[in-house]
Each structure stands twice: as structure tokens, then as C-alpha cells.
């Protein structure tokens, strides 16, 4: 019986105006999103290759002497990622430029062709289309699935037959999901065709798998709205009332709650401004210098004359390393607080399935805030590796004092670090590591679970409500 209901329901919806409207709208938006992505991505790739080549050339220049290499501030840029096609994750408003040498680093910055005035706009990516349009479509398709039949008087007729209520409910649910699947899959297909036809975007096997998971998650998300609509539909007497209620729930869940995140985040967690951070770092390091002058690192740690024997290179190196570590720690703490602030806001907005869905997709695709925190962690690890490399190479040089620290005077005048040239090919270079599908899924599993829970809750609610529905 269920297949029959499904077939009839699907046919009826497909022939309706609302289906045609949503199909056109959604496929057109997916197409626009595809074209926009390709042109944006090409620009990004071009800018990135210019930037990273310049950065590598500068690094190569410094290989003539080890200490110059160690002290050289490297520019690390975020590479463009093809999966931003699915979810851009507001990467345009996130720091994409990291600057570090073997010892110290700077706060990541936003660099490149970004217009801060345009931060408020969304990129037309899959998540944007699914979370706004398709969820809206789910509501429009399902709002009268039960009460509409009652208004038409067909529900009483239907139940007078031998079909049990749960079969009707299930049949209708599956039919709605199938009709939603048509614009979704067709849209994604068009989008992918546009993107893959242009030769500039390459999608690897691992990424195809991730795309598949994102599509499945999208169905999970849409199913929430379908079930919610069926629940409201089974509570309402008239389909117009059901539509009004759903519309306001939709506005609340998809637009208002996500927008409130900023206010909530700022209320729960404070982050100092960049100027304040600079002031704090400056104060802390100048306190350390005072300690140094007062003799905490040895009497002569503060003196610097061309003859290293008159001074205390070891004390000076200890002081320098303490200072850079302190500054690094403060910067790391600041970044953690920035991320924690967003997380606080997202915990609150997590009552909206739209936000959970976005978060899950960002985790799977490895974009957005997730990627930012990953990148920060990876640059820390890279800095450690780079420093280890410098230390190892430095140990090979008997002429060096083996005191690696951020002090060009000590390194230049006293040979605190080696002056030997190094082979550029052996120098570790920063390479962003994408998370494997398993790891990404592990990050997203909590959110996917939440989406499942929403599904379960609304399904149960719709079930109970429909079982008790007065069909007269």
C-alpha cells in the first residue's frame, strides 16, 4: 500500500505549481552558485600561487646562511579549497595569512582581495541553498499534507478504507522526501557539471566521498523540516494556519536564531581587541626586559658588544627565548579566545537545525571556523618542526655557539647560530593537511547525531499527533 501512496503523492506534487516554482528557483540558484564559484576560485588560485611563490622565493633567498633562514619571517597563505563549493563557511572573513619564523609568530590576519564591507553577504553555496530554499520548499510541500486532505474531505474517505494511519503517514513522508530529492539532486548535478566542466577546479576521490556525505546530511536536514511540517499539519485544522505557523517557525529557526549568535557570543565571552593584545604583549615583554636588566638572566645578559666573550650569550638566549615564548603563548591564547567566543555563540544558535547542519557540513568539508582552528594548530606544529630542523642543522656546525634564539645581533655577531648555507630542498615547508574522511566525520558526528535526534523527535511527534488526529 505504501508504494502506491508514495507514487500518487509524488505525481500530485510534481504536477503542482509550487513544485515547478521551487524546482526552477533551486536549480537556477545552484547554477548561479556554480558559475560564481568557478570565477571566484580561479581568482583565488591565481592570487594564491603568486603569493606562495613569492613567499617560497624569499625563503630560498635565506638559505645562504642558516641563521638568516631561522630568523626569516615566512608568509603562509591559506590555499583555496575546492570543497568551499559546498560550504564556504565565511572563510572570506577569516584570517588567511600567517607569519612566523622559527621562534616567533604574529596574529593571523586577513589578507588579499577581501572587502570587509561585504562580509555580511552569504556565498551562494550548497549549504546556503539547502538550508534556506530547500527547507522552505520542504515546508511548502508538506504544510498541507494532512490537514489539506482533511479540508478536502479525502482523509476521512481514505481512513474509511483498510489503510492504517501509520502507512499513510509513512507514505506521505517518503513521498515528500522524494519530491524534495528531485530539486536537490538535480541542482547539485547542474552545479557539479558547471564546476567540473571548467578545468580549473579539481575534485579528488576523498572529496567526492565528502560530497556524498554532505548530500546525505542535507537529506537528514530536510527531513527535519518535512517532519516538522507534517507535525504542524497534523495539529492544525486548516492548511493556511499550518502554513502561517510553519512560516514563523522557519523564520525563527533559519534566520533569526543564527543572527542572534553574535550578540550571544559577545555576551558570554569577551575578547580583547588587537590593539589591546599588542599592548598586553608589549607590557609583558617590557617587564621581562626589566627583569633582564635587573640581572635575572645573569649579570651580563643585557649587554651586547661585538665580542661575545665580554657578554653572556647564553643568558641573552634564555631571555630571548622566554620573551618569544611568552608572546607566542599570549597570541595562542588570544586565538583560542576568538574561537571560543564563536563557539559560545554557536552553542546557543545550535538550537536551530540550520546552524547544526551548517556546522556539520563545515566539519565534513573542512572549511570555515573548523579549518581556521586546524590551520592555527598546524602552523604551531610546523613552527616546532622548523625549529627542530634549525637546531639539528645548527648542531652539525662546530663553529656555532648552538644558542638558537630570535636575536639577529647574537646570531650575526657571536655566531649564536650557524652561518653555514643549507640545502633548500631539505628545508621543511608548510603544507596544509586535509583531514581524512574518518576524522572529519568524527568532528561532525555530534552534529549529525543532533540532526538525527531532531528527526526522531519530530517523527514521534507527528506520529502521535496523527494517530490522535480528528479527521472530521
Amino acid at each position: 500500500m505504501i508504494p502506491l501512496i508514495i507514487r500518487k503523492e509524488v505525481l500530485e506534487t510534481i504536477l503542482s505549481l509550487r513544485f515547478t516554482l521551487s524546482l526552477l528557483l533551486i536549480v537556477a540558484t545552484f547554477a548561479v552558485g556554480g558559475f560564481a564559484f568557478v570565477s571566484k576560485y580561479e581568482q583565488q588560485v591565481q592570487d594564491y600561487s603568486v603569493d606562495s611563490n613569492r613567499s617560497l622565493a624569499a625563503l630560498r633567498d635565506r638559505t645562504s646562511r642558516l641563521y638568516r633562514l631561522a630568523l626569516h619571517k615566512q608568509d603562509i597563505y591559506r590555499a583555496p579549497k575546492s570543497l568551499t563549493l559546498c560550504v564556504e563557511g565565511f572563510e572570506k572573513s577569516m584570517p588567511n595569512y600567517y607569519r612566523l619564523n622559527a621562534f616567533s609568530k604574529e596574529l593571523p590576519q586577513i589578507k588579499g582581495r577581501t572587502n570587509a564591507l561585504m562580509f555580511g553577504f552569504f556565498d551562494v553555496d550548497w549549504v546556503f541553498i539547502v538550508s534556506l530554499f530547500l527547507s522552505f520548499g520542504a515546508m511548502v510541500f508538506a504544510h498541507d499534507s494532512l490537514c489539506g486532505e482533511k479540508e478536502a474531505g479525502t482523509l476521512a474517505l481514505l481512513l474509511a478504507g483498510s489503510v492504517p494511519r501509520h502507512k499513510i503517514l509513512l507514505g506521505k513522508y517518503i513521498a515528500i522526501m522524494l519530491t524534495l530529492g528531485i530539486p536537490l539532486l538535480l541542482g547539485i548535478l547542474v552545479n557539479l557539471l558547471i564546476v567540473t566542466r571548467s578545468n580549473s577546479v579539481a575534485i579528488h576521490t576523498g572529496e567526492w566521498l565528502k560530497i556524498l556525505v554532505i548530500v546525505l546530511t542535507s537529506f537528514l536536514y530536510l527531513s527535519i523540516f518535512a517532519l516538522l511540517s507534517m507535525f504542524v499539519s497534523s495539529r492544525a485544522k486548516r492548511s493556511v494556519i499550518s502554513m502561517v505557523v510553519l512560516l514563523f517557525i522557519w523564520v525563527g529557526l533559519v534566520i533569526v536564531i543564527p543572527s542572534s549568535g553574535r550578540t550571544m557570543a559577545q555576551g558570554f565571552q569577551k575578547v580583547p581587541t588587537q590593539v589591546e593584545l599588542q599592548r598586553q604583549v608589549g607590557d609583558a615583554t617590557s617587564r621581562l626586559s626589566e627583569d633582564c636588566i635587573a640581572g635575572k638572566y645573569g649579570e651580563k645578559a643585557g649587554t651586547a658588544t661585538p665580542d661575545g666573550n665580554e657578554c653572556d650569550p647564553e643568558g641573552r638566549a634564555r631571555f630571548r627565548n622566554d620573551a618569544t615564548q611568552l608572546a607566542n603563548r599570549m597570541i595562542d591564547e588570544h586565538i583560542n579566545r576568538m574561537i571560543a567566543q564563536v563557539a559560545a555563540g554557536r552553542h546557543f544558535t545550535g538550537i536551530s537545525p540550520a546552524e547544526i547542519y551548517r556546522r556539520a557540513c563545515e566539519s565534513i568539508a573542512g572549511t570555515g571556523i573548523q579549518r581556521f582552528s586546524q590551520l592555527c594548530r598546524q602552523t604551531v606544529r610546523y613552527q616546532d618542526d622548523f625549529r627542530d630542523y634549525i637546531c639539528t642543522r645548527d648542531n652539525e656546525d662546530p663553529a656555532s655557539l648552538h644558542l638558537p634564539c630570535e636575536d639577529s645581533y647574537a646570531a650575526g655577531m657571536w655566531k649564536a647560530m650557524s652561518h653555514q648555507p643549507v640545502d633548500f630542498d631539505t628545508v621543511p615547508r608548510f603544507q596544509e593537511r586535509d583531514l581524512a574522511l574518518g576524522q572529519s566525520l568524527k568532528l561532525a558526528i555530534w552534529d549529525i547525531g543532533l540532526l538525527g535526534l531532531f528527526n526522531l523527535a519530530f517523527f514521534t511527534a507527528a506520529w502521535i499527533s496523527f494517530m490522535r488526529y480528528d479527521v472530521r
Binding site: 560564481a36 564591507l117 555580511g120 534556506l132 542572534s260 559577545q266 581587541t273 554557536r346
Partner: protein, 520 residues
């Protein structure tokens, strides 16, 4: 007759479920989010006051005129709770300095750029989303619903003419929608007024009143749009679906697609190019200054003491006669030159910023045909949070730079007076050396020498801190008035006109459609 229909319809509307739920949602949202928005403003204000106080405190420490590099801050706009606009994302301070132009990045106004993952929330959002949906919901069944019920035929079978019916319904719809708008504004104002941080000036009240009017016009236009949809469709269900899809396009697709197209059509200058242009100017300046005839070795006879100066600058504590003479000859040439260079730098920066703004404007214009975007633009113009107000701040800073430069020029006899760079008088350094460094030089005993050195350094520090501070009572204060209401209105007129025209157009079309409507 029109009035009678309007009254009956109005009362009927008030009783509807959609009205009750829409108004409730509006009230709840206002009550929940307004306090957060107000406290956000309070925090901004506190930051601003802290910064200004810190800047003021530095004035007490100024000992030489070339240390006078105050930072001026832009006052946060109280009406930003109504419409956040774009000003938060633009820099909110500028350092008045002869050497460099500060803050070349946008986005510095934000404390945490990562927060951009959350869309902005302000009163305008509630209007443009919730109340516009309500307007469409009120309007979609005005004509088609009556037809379905069969009451339209009954009404029209009497003496009532079609235009009376439509006008009555229009009036009723507007009156109904005015209720949530008014209630929302009253709640917003109540929460605003009970906050300690907020004080509203007369102009602010006028602006709020205008925002109220704009909101009314906006919901009116949206209602007319709904009316049009209703008058062209046979069934109310179809009208509803059609109206909602229209709304979805206007509220979400068009603005974001507009932004994309704008980014393609009007790409901004790459930051590298911009930085290179700035650097070319400063390099040129530095070369020209380096080419000036140097009749003295740099560093000769100077004693620099960094950090003791005001605004984070260093100052020359002592200078001997040849060096002082040299600097008094040098500064009158270099400083005016630097000022010219600053003007060039500011011009380049303004061009860059202009590029960003033009892109944003194009995005707005592309999407700006819809009432929702027009309303958003108008609200931010009226709230003083669009680019206009920022521009007037920038303009004021530019004139202020010249005021400060003129002041310093005036006080230092065109940069020729030593007080421009050092508090010491002629012969001070020689005397100081005579008193403290000569004994040090002459002593052979190591312990004694170290002690004398210590004393000399202490005295030197002492001299740096003891140097008299300047009397700056007549220093030009930075006062800046946000854009006047008149110029705001001038900016708002095109968008307001377009909004009204759209409203009239929607009504005219629905009027025509209704006159030809088949009521069976």
C-alpha cells in the same frame, strides 16, 4: 463606504491567527534581542570613552611639539541598534601623525573578525524579515480568499464599486500592519530609554521618527505587493505560495547574488598594489629627505630617550649646539614636505576605500530594486551607519590634521624653534656633560667609574622626566559632528522615492488586475 469596509476589515484582521502570531513573534524578538543590542552599544561607548580618556591623559605628558600625535576616535552611533549598517566594519580611529598614515585595513573596528559567521542582527532585520512576511500573509487572500468564500460576488452585487472595495481593504491592511510596527518601535524605545548608556538627542528622535515612517511605507509596499499577487491569482493557496517565493527571492537570493555579481563586475584593488602605491610615496619622500644637504653627521651630539615622550614617541632629551642648529635648519624643510606626502597617502587610501565602497554600492544597487533592500538602505542611512557618516568623520579628520599642523607651526615659529624636538636649552648638554660625564671620564678606578656612570644615567633619566610639559590649553580640540539631518535626508531621498514609487506601482497594478478580476 470605503471607511466602513476598512473598519470592518481592520477588526476582522485583528482577530486573525496570523496577525496574533506575527505580532507576538515581533514583540518577543524585540524584547529578547533589544537589550543585547543596547548593551553592545554600551560596550562600544565604554571602549570609546576609555580610548579618549587614554588619549587625553597623554596630553599631560607632552614635552615637545613633534610628540603631538594624538589619535582621534569615531563616536559610536546610538542608532546602530536600529540598523548596524557598515560602519562597524570600518576603522574607528586615526592617528594624527606627520610620518605615516595609520590603519590601512578595514575590519579593524571589529574585535573578533571570526564573529562574521553570524549574520548581523538589528531592528531592521526584524522588520525586513518578520513584518514583511506578515504583510504578505495579510495580503495574499484579500481578493482571492473572498472569491473562494464566495463573498466577493455578494459585495459586488450591491452598489459598492470595485475601487471602494479595494481601497477599503488597502486601508484596513495598512492600519493592521501599523499595529505591530508601532508596538515594535515602542518596545525598542522603551528598552533603549531604560538603558543608562543611552542618551538621545533631538536629532536622534527625529531620525527615529523618520525610521518609523520608512518602516510604515515599507510594510505598506509589501502589503501592496501581496495585494497584487492576490489580485492576479485565482486561489489563495497559490497566491500564498507565489508571494512567499517572491519574498524568499527578494530577502535572500537577490542581495547575495548581487554581492557576487558586484564582486565580479567591480573588483577591488589588490592589497599588494595598494601597499605598493603607499610605499612608492613614502620611499620617494624618504629619498628626497635623504638627499637634503647634510652638514652634520647624524647622531652627533644627540641623546635620545625613547618612551618618555607622549603618545608613545621618543624625544631628544639633550642636543648640543651644532646638532640643534642643524635640526632647526632641517625641520622647516622636511616637515612641510612630509605633510604634503601625508596628503598624497591619504588620497591613495581614500581611493582604495572608495573602491570597497563602490563595490558595496553596486551590490546594493543590483539588489536594490526590491522594497526589502531599499528599506535596509534607508534605515542605515537614517541611523547614520552607512558610509556617509564615516565619510564626514574622514573629512573632519583631514581638516583636523591641518589644524594640528598649523598649531604646531604657529607655536614653533615654522618648525624652527628647538622646542619642536627637544625641551633642552642651548648649553644644557654641555653643562650636563661637564657635571656628570667628565668626572666619569677622568676616574680610573673601576668601582668608582661604575658608580659615577650609574649616577650619570640616573640624572639623565631625571632630566628626561623633569623636562617641563607644554601648556596645550589652546590645542585645537577634535570635535566632530555626525552628518547633519539635512544631508542625510538628501541621501535618503532617491531610495525613499523609489520605495514609494514601487508601493504605488504595486497598488496601481493590483487595481487594474482587480478591475478585470473574474469574481465567479
Amino acid at each position: 463606504m470605503i471607511w466602513k469596509i476598512a473598519k470592518k476589515e481592520f477588526l476582522l484582521n485583528l482577530m486573525t491567527f496570523k496577525f496574533v502570531i506575527g505580532t507576538t513573534v515581533c514583540i518577543v524578538l524585540m524584547a529578547v534581542f533589544m537589550p543585547g543590542l543596547v548593551s553592545d552599544y554600551g560596550e562600544r561607548l565604554q571602549n570609546y570613552n576609555g580610548n579618549v580618556a587614554m588619549n587625553e591623559a597623554e596630553f599631560q605628558k607632552v614635552k615637545v611639539y613633534n610628540n603631538l600625535t594624538p589619535t582621534v576616535y569615531r563616536t559610536p552611533t546610538v542608532l546602530s541598534v536600529f540598523s548596524k549598517g557598515i560602519v562597524d566594519r570600518l576603522e574607528n580611529s586615526e592617528r594624527i601623525d606627520l610620518d605615516e598614515v595609520s590603519g590601512t585595513e578595514t575590519g579593524v573596528g571589529e574585535t573578533n573578525t571570526l564573529l562574521s559567521v553570524f549574520p548581523t542582527l538589528d531592528v531592521t532585520l526584524i522588520f525586513k524579515i518578520v513584518i514583511s512576511v506578515l504583510a504578505l500573509l495579510m495580503a495574499y487572500d484579500v481578493v482571492s480568499g473572498e472569491r473562494e468564500q464566495g463573498t466577493l460576488r455578494l459585495i459586488l452585487s450591491n452598489t459598492t464599486s470595485r475601487h471602494q472595495v479595494l481601497l477599503g481593504k488597502l486601508l484596513a491592511g495598512w492600519m493592521t500592519l501599523a499595529v505591530p510596527v508601532t508596538v515594535a518601535f515602542i518596545i525598542a524605545l522603551l528598552i533603549l530609554l531604560t538603558s543608562n548608556a543611552v542618551s538621545l538627542s533631538g536629532a536622534d528622535w527625529l531620525r527615529i521618527a523618520l525610521m518609523y515612517v520608512v518602516s510604515l511605507v515599507f510594510v505598506g509596499s509589501m502589503f501592496n505587493l501581496g495585494l497584487l499577487v492576490s489580485a492576479v491569482s485565482r486561489g489563495s493557496a497559490i497566491a500564498l505560495v507565489f508571494a512567499l517565493f517572491l519574498w524568499l527571492c527578494m530577502a535572500t537570493i537577490l542581495p547575495n547574488a548581487g554581492a557576487h555579481i558586484a564582486a565580479q563586475l567591480r573588483p577591488i584593488e589588490s592589497p599588494e598594489q595598494f601597499a605598493a602605491r603607499l610605499k612608492a610615496i613614502t620611499d620617494q619622500r624618504d629619498r628626497e629627505i635623504a638627499d637634503l644637504p647634510r652638514d652634520i653627521q647624524e647622531g652627533e651630539g644627540t641623546s635620545r630617550s625613547d618612551g618618555t615622550g607622549a603618545f608613545g614617541n621618543g624625544l631628544i632629551v639633550f642636543a648640543n649646539k651644532p646638532f640643534m642648529d642643524y635640526l632647526t635648519r632641517l625641520y622647516p624643510i622636511t616637515e612641510p614636505h612630509k605633510m604634503q606626502c601625508i596628503d598624497k597617502l591619504l588620497h591613495v587610501k581614500a581611493e582604495y576605500l572608495g573602491g570597497l565602497v563602490r563595490q558595496k554600492h553596486l551590490a546594493d544597487t543590483l539588489a536594490g530594486v526590491t522594497p526589502i533592500i531599499l528599506c535596509e538602505r534607508l534605515m542605515s542611512t537614517l541611523a547614520g551607519t552607512d558610509f556617509g557618516n564615516f565619510g564626514s568623520f574622514k573629512g573632519r579628520v583631514r581638516t583636523y590634521r591641518h589644524e594640528v599642523a598649523d598649531y604646531i607651526r604657529d607655536k614653533t615659529a615654522n618648525f624652527t624653534s628647538p622646542i619642536y624636538f627637544t625641551p633642552s636649552k642651548e648649553g644644557d648638554q654641555e653643562r650636563f656633560f661637564e657635571t656628570y660625564f667628565k668626572p666619569y671620564d677622568q676616574t680610573q678606578d673601576k668601582a668608582e667609574k661604575a658608580k659615577l656612570y650609574e649616577i650619570a644615567m640616573q640624572k639623565y633619566q631625571q632630566a628626561a622626566t623633569d623636562a617641563p610639559t607644554l601648556a596645550l590649553q589652546d590645542f585645537p580640540a577634535f570635535t566632530y559632528r555626525s552628518q547633519s539631518l539635512m544631508s542625510t535626508l538628501q541621501q535618503a531621498i532617491p531610495a525613499a522615492g523609489l520605495l514609494i514609487v514601487e508601493g504605488i506601482l504595486f497598488f496601481a497594478l493590483s487595481f487594474v488586475a482587480f478591475l478585470r478580476y473574474d469574481v465567479r
